[in-house]
């Protein structure tokens, strides 16, 4: 009797902002209460069903797949597919409703349900026992036949029992059996408060105004079967029917068989034959002088493996996508475990020559893992959409869709929404979330509030903080994955509901990447990579200006000059190895060959760092520690990386070889580390691993250390093949930067925004490498940055794209109107280009009239201010006839005061994002010197251990997930950059200064590691106000002037003979000056 109840009516938090508990929590609670089957019914969605499936597998509680349909007329139906076919129909039904209603919504009618009802069990969720319910019952009975039920749910409101009684009478009259449900919204009673709050977030109101918009029916938590039986003692048959329904629904997600789409590339050939044909053809192209024997052997071996695993269609699919991209001249590069095979190289999917680079390609597809191969292809980010649309068109919208990404609450978002719902003032929320590092999941805590002098006695605030903590991790909505395509042979909408995405012409499925992995669907990642856009533009510029024709595969390999540059960590702007952490590592790894770069890319990852593998590796590399293997079997696995596991697959291999894991167990271990980090699954494997290793004769200490190393991996480690692909792009971009800094600078600026550095730093770096950079000019700039001949070399001309707020359309029409006849005046430009005066203001702000029209900012603005909306028709006609602009009015010349040099710099930063004039700190150097603050350049010169104080504009704040709370900050002044290291205790003490300043001065100790110098901060001061004052400074006045030079001291004010108010008496609390704002970039 006790197990006679299955809960069929559970809403998980995938009914966004409605359910308050995760599937894990629901299933764990069900297991604890002795419920052995749980039906998850999210609103018009199956988004959480895979998570539920996993939770079900872990807890042993059976999952009944279901969905709650909220029809357009307000009827609520619970439907459960009894088999695979019914499941397919349910998916199609949901896809239909979503397509009709648009993103995030679903519109369905009874007629739609009727068409798809076969094999679905339907439970009507009634409101009152009235005529409407009677009508719906009759509809239900006619649509679902013997699969129709009526839900009996206790509401804990007046007349509950009477209502249930009348409902069962109604049901009996309509010959529909009743079934008990509990309409669960959260797993345990204490979640009620959070549920109230998410309701407020959903309804966009505060809790005080929420009133009856809150859920009004009480007790929406899971109850044990005994309790349910007691509550529904009058309806025992309806309680028993829950089991009956659970038993009828035999559908299990494991049944979703998956087929690769067929490639129709070659008629009459099997996919395998077609692949082999293409492979050998490609090999002949790649090696025109004859395919080396080694490659032939490798190709044979790989093709054999592909045939055995029947992966040929997958390779063909990737191949055709890449071919399409090539045909449109879109740069692309494959990566992923399968991408670094010889097959992929000869097919042109990757550019890593397997002959040249010794990669472990024999494990490119794991025979044991029984997992679809993994090839991600990166495309130029600007033109990827073309490829995506081609995929949709080629495979059909019924067979191709993007994965979704579940957007989950993090600290800031949770606090923002909860704070809003609890009616906290916005500035308070903003202040608090400004104290939290953006990606953290630690939540906003009391210490943050203390830093703001906020009264923590405030009850609402404390509630908000604790609720926000609870909300972290809950899904907020679905958005589209950056490029993970799911392609199928069968109709995709029978596997999973599809919904239109926010972007036109895109559609996404309801599941995310992990769900797809879990169900072993094939996925092709069509990703966007900014650096590929940059490289493509770089190759185009090389061809155009220097007549050098190159691509990723033909860039000269192993170039010593390039490696020398990389060793100096002179890598600003290049791919991957430009980050602070990477730059710090470069002089220690000292890359000399491509494989060094592969290791460099892989080692500065959270995985290896958390697993503490970096230092052992470096010590061994530098010969300070002997490379030894406890057993020879380990050498085979870790030989290339000096006995330290650095790549993901090595970690798995260690588990297999040393601890006797089966390949599938090793795979589970990887997943456990990546996906279920929080559920404690890892510890289970840990014990097993240690035991296994000890049994095989390793010492326990070694085993424990190995496990802690492996623990660092998971999603944070790179597989070797990924690292290799990235290393190739890193090498290619470094080569370009090394040999053609002008081309690299222009290409990188045109590919913005990307990477760690802002245009200001890119330009500065280029100028330091001897590249001439010329300002934006209305008569010379095009939209993109271009190269102009300069002396015997090339100079970079900043493009109109650098001008803030200038639209591409206006920029283009300006360039088009200019043609080869330069504009003679602002009037001329305005008439010919036909752009609004506001656009001219943007150009004037960017100082684009100075070079060719010799108009300074103010003069240009003055002239623009005089323009009307439309030229006067008579003047326009006369001007046309004369072929030149005629002034409409002759007005007295007005002498404008020239801008102070400091202001010019401020304006440059404000409107172009960089200045070719002096660095802002130049103007306040005297004050800094007076405060005994040294330059950043000085930091690099002093000897190790020196204490000093340096100041600069904050360029980058970075807190890698790996670095245990250590923050890296880069500051810059006119002499260079200084790299700060902020230890966690300082971060906690000075959180506000560290996260909030745009300029800071830092006291600290210099630490030298070879050529890399860090300043270990001990005290940070916010100098933002000093920086803001730059606009008032004039370069001339800070220079010491001769004593006799009185003109310089008195300035050119009006005659001061009469009694007048002296400026020093001026007291002005309201004055706001144009201030220099530099927004630092923040990175995880």
């Amino acid at each position: 009797m006790t197990d006679a109840y299955a809960e069929l009516h559970c809403t998980s938090h995938f009914s966004f902002l409605r359910g308050a508990s995760s599937c894990d929590e629901l299933f764990a609670q069900a297991a604890a209460l002795g419920i052995d089957a749980l039906g998850i019914v999210d609103r018009n969605s199956l988004a959480g069903i895979v998570r539920a499936h996993i939770a079900a597998k872990e807890t042993g509680v059976r999952l009944v797949v279901g969905c709650r349909l909220d029809l357009a007329d307000g009827t609520a139906l619970l439907v459960y597919p009894i088999d695979r076919f019914a499941y397919g129909r349910l998916c199609r039904l949901l896809s239909l409703g979503k397509k009709r209603a648009g993103k995030g919504k679903c519109e369905l009618h009874w007629s739609d349900v009727a068409e798809h009802a076969e094999g679905l069990i339907g439970i009507l969720v009634p409101n009152e026992p009235d005529d409407l319910t009677g009508l719906n019952l009759r509809r239900l009975a006619s649509v679902f036949g013997d699969r129709a039920y009526l839900a009996l749910t206790l509401r804990r409101r007046p007349n509950d029992h009477l209502r249930l009684h009348e409902l069962s009478l109604l049901a009996a009259r309509a010959r529909v059996p009743t079934v008990v449900t509990n309409d669960v919204l959260f797993h345990a009673p204490h979640r009620r408060i959070l549920q109230d709050v998410v309701t407020c977030i959903r309804r966009n109101c505060t809790i005080d105004d929420a009133g009856f918009r809150r859920e009004r029916h009480a007790d929406r938590y899971l109850k044990p079967p005994d309790e349910m039986a007691r509550l529904f003692a009058l309806h025992p048959e309806a309680v028993r029917r829950t089991r009956e329904i659970a038993a009828r629904c035999r559908f299990n997600l494991e049944e979703l068989a998956y087929q690769y789409p067929e490639e129709a590339t070659m008629a009459g050939l099997t996919p395998q034959a077609a692949l082999e044909h293409l492979t050998w053809e490609g090999a002949r192209e790649r090696y025109p002088e004859g395919v080396p024997d080694k490659i032939v052997a490798t190709l044979r071996h790989e093709l054999q493996l592909i045939a055995k695993l029947r992966y040929a269609p997958y390779f063909l699919t990737v191949n055709s996508i890449v071919r399409f991209a090539r045909s449109r001249d879109i740069l692309c590069q494959g990566r992923g475990s399968a991408a670094n095979s010889a097959v992929c190289f000869v097919l042109g999917i990757t550019s890593i020559d397997p002959d040249r680079n010794d990669l472990l390609f024999e494990r490119f597809v794991s025979e044991e893992r029984q997992e679809p191969p993994d090839i991600d292809v990166d495309f130029e980010h600007e033109r990827r959409e073309i490829v995506m649309q081609w995929v949709y068109d080629t495979y059909g919208r019924d067979h191709a869709a993007l994965c979704s990404t579940v957007t989950r609450y993090r600290s800031k978002g949770a606090l923002r929404d909860i704070g809003k719902a609890l009616g906290l003032p916005e500035d308070l929320i903003k202040g608090l979330s400004g104290q939290v590092w953006g990606w953290s999941e630690e939540g906003v805590q009391e210490k943050h509030a203390k830093g703001l002098n906020i009264n923590l006695e405030d009850r609402r605030l404390r509630l908000a903080l604790s609720l926000a903590q609870e909300l972290i991790g809950a899904p907020r909505h679905l958005s589209q994955h950056p490029g993970g395509f799911v392609l199928t042979h069968d109709r995709l909408d029978e596997l999973v509901p599809i919904e239109p995405a926010a972007m036109t012409d895109r559609q996404i499925i309801e599941w995310d990447k992990d769900d797809i992995d879990e169900l072993r669907f094939m996925k092709v990642d069509v990703l966007a990579l900014g650096m590929l856009t940059c490289m493509k533009r770089g190759f185009d510029l090389l061809k155009q200006h220097k007549d050098i024709s190159l691509n990723l595969a033909t860039i000269p390999a192993e170039d010593p000059r390039t490696y020398a540059m990389i060793r100096k960590a002179d890598t600003l702007g290049v791919f991957q190895i430009e980050s602070r952490a990477q730059m710090a590592m470069l002089p220690r790894i000292k890359p000399r060959t491509f494989y060094d770069l592969v290791i460099e890319v892989a080692i500065v990852r959270p995985g290896p760092i958390q697993g503490d593998m970096v230092h052992p590796y470096l010590r061994r590399r530098e010969g300070k520690e002997a490379v030894e293997y406890p057993k020879p079997e380990l050498e085979r696995v870790l030989g290339k990386t000096l006995g330290v596991p650095l790549f993901q697959e090595q970690a798995m291999r260690v588990a297999i070889v040393c601890a006797g894991f089966s390949p599938s167990e090793a795979d589970q271990l990887r997943r456990a580390m990546a996906t279920f980090k929080h559920t404690g699954g890892v510890t289970k494997f840990g014990e097993k691993l240690v035991k296994g290793m000890v049994k095989r004769g390793y010492t326990e200490e070694f085993a424990v250390r190995t496990f802690s190393q492996l623990e660092g991996f998971g999603s944070y480690g790179f597989p070797e093949s990924h690292a290799a692909s990235f290393a190739l792009i890193a090498y290619a971009s470094s080569w370009l930067k090394c040999h053609h800094p002008d081309v690299f600078c222009a290409a990188l600026l045109n590919a913005q925004p990307m990477g760690f550095y802002a245009p200001a730093q890119i330009v500065r770096d280029a100028r330091e490498h001897g590249v001439e950079v010329r300002p934006v000019c209305v008569n010379a700039s095009r939209w993109d940055c271009t190269l102009e001949p300069s002396g015997d070399g090339l100079a970079v001309r900043l493009g109109l794209r650098m001008v803030r707020s200038l639209s591409n359309v206006d920029g283009a029409s300006l360039v088009a109107a200019r043609g080869d006849r330069p504009f003679g005046s602002i009037d001329d430009l305005w008439r010919r280009a036909g752009v609004p005066a506001a656009t001219l203001v943007h150009l004037a702000d960017a100082d684009a009239f100075r070079e060719s029209l010799t108009l300074a900012r103010r003069e240009a603005l003055w002239a623009i201010k005089a323009l009307r909306d439309e030229p006067l028709p008579l003047f326009a006609a006369a001007a046309r006839r004369a072929g030149a602009a005629l002034p409409e009015a002759i007005e007295p010349a007005v002498e404008l005061k020239p801008m102070k040099e400091g202001s010019e710099v401020v304006e440059d930063y404000g409107h172009v994002g960089l200045s070719l004039r002096r660095h802002p700190l130049f103007f306040i150097r005297d004050e800094l010197t007076a405060r005994r603050i040294v330059t950043c350049g000085r930091v690099g010169e002093v000897k190790d251990g020196t204490w000093l104080e340096a100041a600069g504009i904050v360029l980058v704040r970075q807190m890698p997930g790996s670095a245990k709370g250590v923050m890296f900050i880069t500051i810059e002044d006119e002499t260079g950059v200084a790299n700060l290291v902020i230890w966690p205790d300082l971060f906690e003490r000075q959180r506000r200064e560290i996260l909030g300043s745009s300029m800071m001065s830092v006291k600290g100790r210099v630490q030298r590691e070879g050529e890399v110098v860090h300043l270990i901060a001990s005290c940070v001061t916010d100098c933002s106000t000093l920086l803001a004052s730059v606009g008032e400074r004039d370069g001339i006045f800070t220079l010491p002037a001769g004593r006799g030079d009185e003109a310089r001291h008195s300035g050119g004010g009006p005659d001061s003979r009469s009694a007048k108010v002296r400026p020093r008496d001026i007291y002005d609390p309201y004055e706001h000056i144009d201030t220099l704002k530099v927004k630092a970039r923040a990175f995880r």
């Binding site: 916005e426 002098n453 009006p1054």
Partner: protein
Amino acid sequence: MPRVVSLYLPTWPTDRLRRKLGADAPPPDVPLVLVGREGRQRLVLAADRAAQAAGLRIGMEAVRAQALIANLVVKDADLVGDATALDKLALWALRRYSPIVASDPPDGLVIDMTGAAHLLGGEAAMLADLSSRVINVGLSAHAAMADSWGAAHAVARSIRQQVWLVTTGGSRDALAPLPIARLRLAAETIAGLRRLGFETIGELAATARAPLALRFGSEVGRRLDQAFSAVREVITPIRADELVSVRRAFAEPIAAPETLHRYTRKLVETLCSELEAKALGARRLDLLFFRIDNRIEAIRVGTSMPVREAKRLVRLLGDKIETIEPGFGIEIMTLTATVAEPLMPKQRVTALVEEEEADVSDLVDILANRVGSHRVYALQAVSSDVPERSVAVASPPTAAGTLAPPTQWPRPSRLLTPPEVIEAIAMLPDHPPVAFTWRGVRRRVKRADGPERIFGEWWKRDAELAAVRDYFRVEDEAGERFWIYRAGDGEDTETGSHRWFMHGLFG
């Protein structure tokens, strides 16, 4: 040549608050800011000298201000109060210095002293007098005298000294070095001019007018002209109370209630016609009776909405005439509409179009004036499940209408406040009691419905985070129905004491 004084009160709102708080005010060296909401933002709207010295600025976010200064005192701003008080200050100056005084909101006064300064011992003496009087009451103030409103305004806001006298004809020189922000121009015009490099009024004045007007409109020229007295600027003086008031003096003292009544009606009729001329309606009437023994008797009546219907007002006042003690007789009666609000003539609806809504405001006024307005109220439904909070007292409606019941579920017609403890025995967790004892009477429960589970409103108080009440409708043997509840859900002691209470009676 006109002579104008501008009085600038840089920290008017905070000074006012400090004065109001008296001894409770934070000491002057403790920074004080006043904040107000702008949308969902809380911004600093006023900051005192200490706060400004510490780097706080008007317009910055309240939280940032708090973060910058640890001992900052934050109070709510009262913009309307500030403006009203400024008007009052203007009235004071009107009586004391000159017949033409206007407030120069938000933080100053302007006084036209043309030809009046000599009465106060000359310009310098007048300025010193004004400044010292204002400063002595605890306001920080700067005062300047010049040839025009514009010049005096600009100078007063630019000086550190307390007073500054710009000699006749000296405005141009005095203004030259001052920033253009002093010119009373729109903020965006100022910003635009500053972008072009205009910093001081002198630079602006030296620039050709036509190009400026083409670019920034005529306002720039107008303000310059006003400041330099090239154009006369009119100061609209503030008027002493514009109360509508009528008065009647009697040759012979009157005393009989009927006579008082008759003259009351006459006064009301005159007052109503005056109100009508101004399109006003009275919200409060003060009727004063000046007795010959120099005592004043008074009647005050209020209405719920503006009224100028003589009959109604007479009835309201007439009801209270009996409270007047005429003594030896009354020689003067005055009737003043101390609170009046705009009242426009309104089209009456005709029966053809729609039902006319019954106007109950008359009844409400009569009741309110008889028993006191706080005793006349309406009940309003509130969206709350907690019974005590499901209705709120609201001001009485002006039109007869029905209020929606708070919920769709049956609720007792009478609630007991506070709920009374009863003794009851019931099976846990969710059964109704078999019998209970209330006010000493034991009743057996014949029928019951429940429980209806009502949760505490956790966002209101900590005590309500877990609180639960289980309500039952019960009927005793005599057929009387009660609404009783148990504090707690019958399972978890966190949720309540598990004692039983009587909360309401069904009719």
